[in-house]
Symmetry: C2
Subunit: 213 residues, 2 copies
DNA sequence: GGGTGGCCGATTGTATACAAGCTAAAGTAC
DNA sequence: GTACTTTAGCTTGTATACAATCGGCCACCC
């Protein structure tokens, strides 16, 4: 694999999994030595991460890991609502029924049969639904915008643990979205998505360490 | 100015203004010599343009200027609708009245008093409205997604000339959007934006060179 | 005659050397 | 004591040299 790609993947994982905390400075010399690549491919990796929004440059041209405040999470979900409701609308219009029928069965079965740990199955299924919707929407531009979003969302997920109650409700919400897409009901698909995101955001905010005003 | 920034700006302008046509290969050696920079900063520029979607890599690792088919334009407007209706909603919620009152006066006056050529005034005003809405929405993530979009839209604008009739209607639509934002009517702001984009897309598609099925 | 193998050319990928800018700190002058 | 200036160190920005990979083409073999 290319060194620039390696550096990008490594850094992205470290940021998303909070092994690199927000505000961590990423000096080129130090980071390149740590990752075992030279500065040139590292700069390309940092460039991609900056465009993605996971790394911010400055002040002093130094790259630092982007912070994730409570406001950031709210803004992130505002963008997410715009993109995912539209994606749901388009998916309802253009979906391949067999794909979503299979997904529906998976949700009802709770992900049994998957080769993933039990506690990861809800996320696995949710990700599968996201991918299916993205593909069904069939817009490269929308997919591009959503791709950047997913990285940030994965970061948020790491900092907010869902309880069993929330997971159960989330599954119901997901099934409703799938049903709306299967029924090609664009308005319902969008509304169901908006509801799901609203509840999801509320859950994330509630589980934040300190809920400052 | 930094060489990488210079290269980025030059290439971006050339692509947006169609001086580099879609499909044009951007060999690193040739392009770097043409722009008067070395390969390293050029690679950073290409990296940014690729992330922005104006340049695509491959096949054979060569960078080429992205194409803009009719389908691309439709998909672009689908994303635009998602982002701008949300931005309009948020702007209606959080707007600074004085800013939009000034904008409204500008629209009614038709941009008189501006130091720009008469034929550019409608675009100048539309851009000013876009900026005002983006800022009023107050979401860095939404703004980031919109920033990438603007480049593509500027490309589309170059290939579709509006007639006087369309410009007049567009102004009416813009004023309606401004009024909705001033009235803090989120639903109307979003709907008015959707209508405007729908009409705008229809105008663009109609003025396409060959309207193939 | 067609297909396959290897070679040559060119292009991108990487590393490193060098230059320039910025930050911060320390010293001096007021 | 404070503020300003200068310098030293480190940082990033750029250029170029070198390595590796990809594609095309030609010759040779089947």
């Amino acid at each position: 694999m290319r060194a620039s790609e390696t550096a990008y993947q490594l850094l992205r994982d470290e940021i998303i999994q909070w092994r690199l905390e927000p505000g961590t400075p990423l000096g080129e010399v130090e980071t390149s030595q740590r990752l075992g690549v030279s500065r040139t491919p590292l700069r390309e990796a940092l460039s991609r991460l900056t465009a993605e929004g996971l790394v911010r440059t400055g002040p002093g041209r130094t790259a630092v890991v982007t912070s994730m405040s409570r406001d950031d999470i709210v803004e992130l979900f505002e963008l997410r609502e715009a993109l995912e409701t539209q994606a749901a609308r388009l998916a309802a219009r253009r979906r391949d029924a067999t794909v979503f029928e299979a997904l529906r069965a998976d949700f009802v079965a709770g992900g049994r049969g998957k080769n993933v740990p039990v506690e990861d199955r809800p996320y696995e299924l949710a990700d599968a639904l996201d991918v299916a919707i993205d593909e069904a929407a069939g817009s490269v531009y929308l997919q591009g915008a959503l791709r950047d979003l997913r990285g940030h969302l994965a970061r948020v997920r790491r900092s907010a643990h869902s309880n069993a109650d929330r997971l159960g409700r989330a599954t119901s919400e997901h099934i409703l979205i799938v049903d709306a897409i299967l029924a090609q009901d664009e308005a319902l698909a969008a509304s169901a998505t908006a509801v799901h995101l609203h509840n999801s955001l509320a859950n994330v905010l509630a589980s934040l360490p300190q809920d400052e005003a």
